[in-house]
């Protein structure tokens, strides 16, 4: 089932930043308290708008990590050295500040409990953010749906939501976590060393009981191309795969949205 943006203009609203939490050395969560936040579906994003004193504005899109029904909206923003907006979030924004957002937006890279499962989530780097929203939605709304997350990060320290993921993997039957760490050999045996490969995907699919009903892949374009190619080689049907790609060189907009083209 597809979500859709309801008719009528999606209005900008000023929201307060309530909390800021450091996730990794380059990634922070910004918790927002919107006045209006209806019909949010896991996987959607928001547009953010910043205004300078002379009226100059910059807009970016960021994925939402929180689940539907959560009291606050969590934006997870990676600091991109060359960026205009993400360094501002990391270096300037403080709790109590106000920013403008509009959303939720996006009707394709979304998962609702009615969509059912099994569900395979594959994320690279900060591409895990909309997938986390789906994981949290599953735990809250549909704990019987089998869901697996395959997540690639450079180092154990770069794993966003590390503690929460590991705790969920312990506590939630039907949720399988596979974190692949590419640039160091993790001492902790709960992490795989190396890239996501056919052997790992094979293991994950076996755990899910076969090809998933829905697959969501999010990360940089090369990551998404490699991961979707691997899934198709391993028998996942093309039609079941939804992707969200971000990045450009140099990319801005930490995690980009499930948006049309390019």
């Amino acid at each position: 089932m597809e979500a859709s943006v309801p008719g009528g203009r999606i209005a900008w609203q000023e929201v307060a930043v309530t909390r800021i939490v450091e996730q990794t050395p380059t990634v922070k969560s910004f918790f927002l308290m919107p006045q209006r936040w209806t019909s949010f579906v896991a996987g959607q994003h928001v547009d953010v708008r910043l205004t300078a004193p002379d009226g100059y504005q910059a807009e970016r899109s960021y994925s939402v990590g929180s689940a539907p029904g959560a009291p606050e909206v969590e934006l997870v923003i990676e600091r991109l050295t060359e960026g205009e907006v993400s360094p501002f979030f990391h270096e300037v924004v403080m709790p109590g500040d106000a920013i403008e957002i509009r959303g939720p937006i996006g009707g394709h890279f979304v998962w609702r409990k009615e969509d059912g499962g099994p569900v395979l989530l594959v994320g690279g780097g900060s591409g895990v953010v909309p997938l986390m929203s789906m994981l949290r939605a599953r735990a809250a709304l549909a704990p019987d749906v089998p869901m697996a997350l395959v997540y690639s990060a450079r180092t154990v320290g770069d794993v966003i939501f590390r503690n929460e993921m590991l705790a969920r993997a312990e506590a939630e039957p039907g949720f399988a976590l596979h974190v692949a760490v590419t640039r160091e050999t993790p001492a902790d045996e709960r992490f795989h060393a190396g890239r996501i490969d056919a052997a790992l995907i094979g293991e994950v699919l076996a755990g899910l009981g076969g090809a998933p009903r829905h697959a969501y892949v999010c990360g940089s374009n090369p990551f998404v191309d490699a991961a979707t190619g691997l899934l198709i080689d391993m028998g996942v049907r093309f039609e079941t795969i939804r992707t969200e790609r971000y990045g450009g060189e140099p990319a801005e907009g930490g995690t980009a949205p499930a948006l049309p083209e390019e």
Partner: protein
């Protein structure tokens, strides 16, 4: 307008600012966004079909399509994800040349573009005629890479780039303006970046 505490921004140059539609920023790379996996379409099995409603009018193989007159367009492109890229160079066959080769006069005002991955998007015919649009087969002097829509994609640079359907395999004239893939999912029916028509209701 609410001023954001501590935000000063990094302004584009005056010329860049003039060429950037509202809410867009200048991108020097070429980001890729698409709804699913990248279909691998081989040129020897590639077919492109022109249709009126359900009726195919003419179909081209890759070889036959490459015999049509090539037009080069240098244009700025604008993605609804907020990046714009200036001075991109494309070569392809204008829609007027496609129609001429099929001996077809435009039978309706609306066109639906279809793609190999099941994607579709609507564009009024008036936005496809002249040198405003084409079926592009080359980007920056080389075949279009699969993740950017090769072998062939629609190219309608004056609208948000989701209208420039990748992996194009058909153009279909329709009686009415019919919504395509993203238009059914909350995105604007027309998508003019200068009027910031991103979503339904914008």
């Amino acid at each position: 307008m609410a001023i954001t505490r501590g935000f000063f921004g990094r302004r584009p140059s005056e010329e860049e600012a003039r060429r950037l539609p509202p809410g867009q920023y200048l991108e020097r790379g070429f980001p890729v966004l698409s709804a699913g996996a990248t279909p691998r379409v081989a040129t020897d099995s590639w077919r492109f079909t022109l249709k009126v409603g359900p009726r195919p009018v003419k179909s081209w193989t890759w070889e036959a399509f490459n015999e049509l007159p090539l037009t080069a367009l240098k244009r700025d492109i604008h993605c609804v994800t907020k990046w714009s890229k200036f001075d991109t160079n494309w070569e392809g066959v204008t829609i007027d040349d496609v129609l001429a080769d099929a001996g077809l006069a435009p039978p309706t005002d609306f066109v639906l573009a279809h793609a190999y991955d099941g994607y579709s998007t609507n564009v009024p015919f008036g936005d496809l005629t002249g040198d405003r649009a084409m079926v592009a087969i080359r980007y920056e002097g080389a075949p279009i890479a699969p993740d950017h829509g090769g072998p062939a994609r629609l190219f309608v640079p004056h609208l948000y780039f989701w209208k420039s359907a990748k992996w194009l395999n058909a153009l279909q004239f329709t009686e009415r303006d019919e919504a395509g893939f993203w238009e059914l999912r909350g995105y604007h029916m027309y998508g003019d970046p200068w009027r910031e028509q991103r979503f339904t209701g914008d």
